[in-house]
Amino acid sequence: MALVQVENVSKIYQTGEIEVAALSNINLSIDKASFVTFVGPSGSGKTTMLNLIGCLDKPTRGKVIVNGKQVNAFNRKQRAGFRGFVLGFIFQSFNLFPVLTAYENIEFPLVMIKNESASKRKDMIMSLLDSVGMQDQKDKFPDQLSGGQKQRVAVARALVTRPKLVMADEPTANLDKKSAVNVIRLMREMRDKYDTTFIFSTHDPGVMEEAEVVHTLVDGKLV
């Protein structure tokens, strides 16, 4: 059974009296532990697609089923809970909390969502820091890290709750080419290590090559 099923999904944004179709009648499924990318030019609907699968937004029409749950029927609180326990997020601008160290940034979801004991938290975080190669940088604050290091911390933060699916919207857009490829490779390694499905969006051809499944969006339609 697919981890993600998108059935006849459309998303229309209303701006005054003008309707803009960000996605039109999308159907797709994504298997467990796959490494999928959405590609396409700016405004093609990549971010909207990720937002719908990531329970950050609701479709105007259609169904989004993630891990067997029809997430578009969830209320606000259910969506927050689902995101915390089933999904992980990596952002284009890293979105690390500036007042927390690398260690504390990774710890944040465990404190706020999972309520794990301190010793268990420490084991999980140290193991992830080791996996992303950031153990020696754990006490640094985000402004003391390079872009590539920040994104590594973000990858570790996304994985710390052991999610089934990690969503990454343009995770390499703010990185140089070398760091971008390194981050994508790290994500794939993590997929291999934790059996986590990764869905990311990009318009960088170098990064696209690293993906196993590529979905191309043009003007809100899969091509």
Binding site: R76, G81, F82, F85, N95, M112
Partner: protein, 417 residues
């Protein structure tokens, strides 16, 4: 919970200058409230002490109707010995009553054999009066500045300072008092002036003193009568309770018309200073209201700015699954932490200020009383009350911004520029 407060504190330290300024403002507000409460409270306590302990007493019992005609000092609204005994019995049975003293209030003509003038007199039993008004002797000046063991003996009189000066009467001089009794007949007696008394706030503070037995003779009372019974209680904090108890006990005595025979009043209804005391209380409350406004506006402002500056961060928190309640909790903790830091600082500096004011005492004059030393004190309950208010207002002020943060849609917040 500790982690949430740790994050809250770090977020506050992110904007050091803003946090410092806001915290200083709240600290200043708390400091002002503590200093004002301490100074005003001690001034009020001192003045009440001066009034009740040196002249008025804490409570007075009269025959019904006396207080409403107090300005004319009526001699026909008296307590006869039977009534006095009834009152005495009630006072003795009440464990809260520490002491009581009978008094006669009268006005007379004072003559130094060349001039004559009016004088208001408080006729007391000096041995009892000293327990009711322990500081009564402090306002009096005697020969060689020595206070005698018994303030007054029969045949002696103490005259208000200004009156003595105006009539050029010196300590030891003979004077004559002439008074009308309640039937209108006139009587005169010779006295020796043994002391002068400084005036105190209010009309009752400009009275001379004489022995109660002399007053009874001067007024030709065939049977001893008194005008009032002044009393002192063991714990001034229980004034209202004791007043109610005594009022209830006295209300049992009714005349043939079914009306109360006695009336009892606390110092508050007998002295105009009670209005000043009420004004001081009102000003203290006003200070507290100003402090509340400072806390409310400054924390609301800081927290609103904090939310608007961290929209993307809120979006991230929400996206990774933090519940709206916990996002709200984070911002409430931030406001509470700001209030708590300011409260601790304000209390510390305030208590330090009170301590220094006690070392370098404030000297002031009030009416005829000069050289009064103000020793401000602040009750721990007052500090707890002020702190609780500040913390409560801190949370209240943070509520709206915190609620706004918790209600942000992650998709909108993440897209915020």
């Amino acid at each position: 919970m500790i982690r949430i407060f740790k994050i809250a504190l770090r977020n506050l330290m992110r904007y050091k200058r803003r946090t410092l300024l806001t915290s200083l403002l709240i600290t200043l507000g708390i400091l002002l409230v503590i200093l004002f409460s301490g100074l005003a409270g001690s001034f009020k306590t001192m003045m009440i002490g001066q009034i009740t302990d040196s002249n008025l007493a804490q409570m007075q019992i009269h025959k019904k109707g006396y207080v409403s005609s107090i300005d004319t000092m009526p001699l026909n609204i008296t307590l006869d010995s039977k009534a006095y005994k009834k009152i005495e019995k009630i006072l003795k049975e009440n464990p809260d009553v520490k002491a009581y003293s009978p008094r006669i209030k009268l006005s007379a003509m004072l003559s130094n054999f060349t001039e004559t003038t009016n004088i208001r007199l408080n006729a007391i039993d000096p041995e009892k009066e000293i327990y009711v008004c322990p500081n009564v002797g402090e306002r009096m000046k005697f020969e060689d500045n020595k206070t005698p063991d018994v303030l007054l003996k029969p045949g002696e009189i103490i005259i208000p300072e200004k009156l003595a000066m105006g009539m050029k009467i010196k300590i030891g001089d003979p004077v004559v008092l002439v008074a009308n009794n309640k039937d209108g007949s006139v009587n005169g007696l010779n006295f020796k002036m043994v002391g002068i008394i400084e005036s105190i706030l209010g009309p009752q503070g400009k009275e001379g003193y004489m022995h109660i037995k002399d007053a009874q003779s001067l007024l030709r009372m065939e049977k001893p009568e008194v005008i009032e019974v002044a009393l002192r209680i063991r714990d001034f904090e229980r004034l209202d309770k004791v007043y109610e108890d005594l009022k209830l006990s006295l209300s049992e005595f009714i005349n043939k018309k079914g009306k109360a025979v006695f009336e009892i009043h606390t110092w508050e209804t007998l002295s105009p200073f009670s209005n000043i005391a009420n004004m001081i209380d009102f000003m203290t409350i006003t200070m507290k209201m100003i402090m509340i406004a400072i806390v409310l506006i400054s924390i609301l402002n800081v927290m609103m700015m904090s939310v608007y500056e961290r929209v993307r961060e809120i979006g991230t928190m929400s996206a990774i699954g933090t519940s709206p309640g916990k996002i709200m909790g984070l911002f409430l903790a931030e406001g509470l932490s700001l209030g708590l830091i300011s409260t601790l600082a304000g209390n510390f500096i305030g208590i330090l200020g009170i301590y220094f004011l006690n070392i370098y005492k404030i000297r002031f004059a009030f009416g005829k009383m000069d050289n009064l030393l103000l020793s401000p004190t602040i009750e721990i309950s007052e500090i707890i009350w002020v702190s609780a208010i500040v913390l409560l207002i801190s949370v209240f002020a943070s509520f709206q911004p915190a609620y706004k943060a918790s209600k942000m849609e992650p998709v909108d917040a993440l897209g915020h520029i």
